[in-house]
């Protein structure tokens, strides 16, 4: 993040001192002690806060994908009843009541959109990206899905069938991308780190194993 939060706990000299609340004093005490002991840094905390605010949601969906990749029995349950299989991992409520998992394969590519509004499985995928709510995406994805995919840098073999699903207040989707090659022996945690938000909407690919982040 280029912009630092203005509200971190530096009390600069030009601010008049006001006594902190009890809990504020405790958190400042903890942070100052831990920094002094070299156990944490201001920047590390900043980075985590920003990652949490932006990325935790997608990580839930990524866990579902990683489990589907590594546990065939779980994959079957996810195919049969997405809602319950996802609830097994502790993700329920909050607009994920009815979730259908769409499995990509060598022959089929799934993507979803909310043409009428911005229905989105928040619990699984976090904050919807701005483009998801944009009129061009919502209108073009149904009529010209391949063009829209190309805009996202996703080109598919012409033989691959593209399926576009429309979410509603009652029905949400999550795309289960194909497990990338070269991930034999990966733990679920390692696999989940490869899953991007867009790959679960169908507008992007998963990361390649070994590719460095960013």
């Amino acid at each position: 993040m280029a912009e630092r939060p203005h509200d971190h706990d530096h009390d600069h000299d030009d601010h008049p001192w006001t006594p902190p609340s009890d809990i504020e004093a405790r958190v400042r005490a903890l942070e100052s002690l831990l920094v002094e002991k070299g156990l944490t840094t201001h920047d590390a905390i900043d980075t985590l806060i920003s990652a949490f605010e932006n990325d935790l949601g997608p990580m839930h969906g990524a866990r579902v994908v990683a489990k589907a990749w590594s546990d065939p029995a779980y994959r079957q349950r996810l195919e049969a009843d997405g809602t319950n299989a996802i609830a097994e991992l502790g993700y329920r409520g909050l607009q994920t009541e009815h979730v259908k998992a769409l499995f990509n394969s060598a022959t089929d590519h799934h993507m979803w959109v909310c043409t009428l509004c911005s229905c989105y499985p928040w619990t699984l995928l976090g904050i919807p990206p701005v483009w998801f709510k944009s009129a061009p995406y919502r209108s073009r994805v149904v009529s010209h899905p391949r063009e829209v995919l190309a805009d996202f840098g996703v080109t598919l073999d012409p033989t691959v069938k593209v399926h576009v699903w429309d979410t509603s207040a009652e029905q949400r989707y999550i795309v289960i991308p194909e497990r990338p090659d070269g991930t034999q022996g990966f733990t679920e945690e390692q696999l989940a780190a490869l899953v991007t938000r867009d790959s679960m909407i169908g507008t992007g690919f998963v990361k390649r194993p070994g590719a460095t982040d960013e």
């Binding site: 009390d11 504020e24 405790r26 903890l30 156990l39 990325d55 989105y120 780190a193």
Partner: protein
């Protein structure tokens, strides 16, 4: 490694699920986000397994008990991150990463203005 923070934010489910609004994680005050960041960062540095913190937070949510040095002035309605801070403080003391005495002293320093800056 340390830059790949996206993969390292652990999940919290059930009674200790992170507070969210419309699915987005929310912090009601800056101290809550600092407390969040410290707990996750020390975990990723290997100070404790995530489950150890999580179990402690569950205990705090269930019983509201805490070590003396970690006891905040009793809040009428301790919120999620109040309990989070208390659980964290307990854990640090148990792991001998901080001592109750230095914690008491430092809290007091901040409350009285003897110390005003975190860094």
């Amino acid at each position: 490694m340390s830059n790949d923070s996206r993969a390292t934010i652990p999940t919290m489910d059930g009674v200790v699920a992170y507070p969210r609004k419309n699915g987005e994680p929310v912090f009601d005050a800056p101290w809550q986000s600092r407390a969040f960041g410290m707990v996750v960062n020390l975990h990723t540095q290997g100070a404790y397994p995530w489950d150890e913190f999580k179990q402690r937070l569950i205990q705090h949510v269930a019983q509201g008990d805490r070590a003396a040095a970690c006891a905040a002035a009793p809040a009428a309605n301790p919120g999620y991150y109040d309990q989070w801070v208390a659980a964290f403080c307990d854990l640090l003391i148990d792991k001998h990463l901080i001592s109750p005495d230095e914690m008491d002293q430092r809290v007091n320093d901040f409350k009285t203005g003897v110390r005003q800056q975190v860094y």
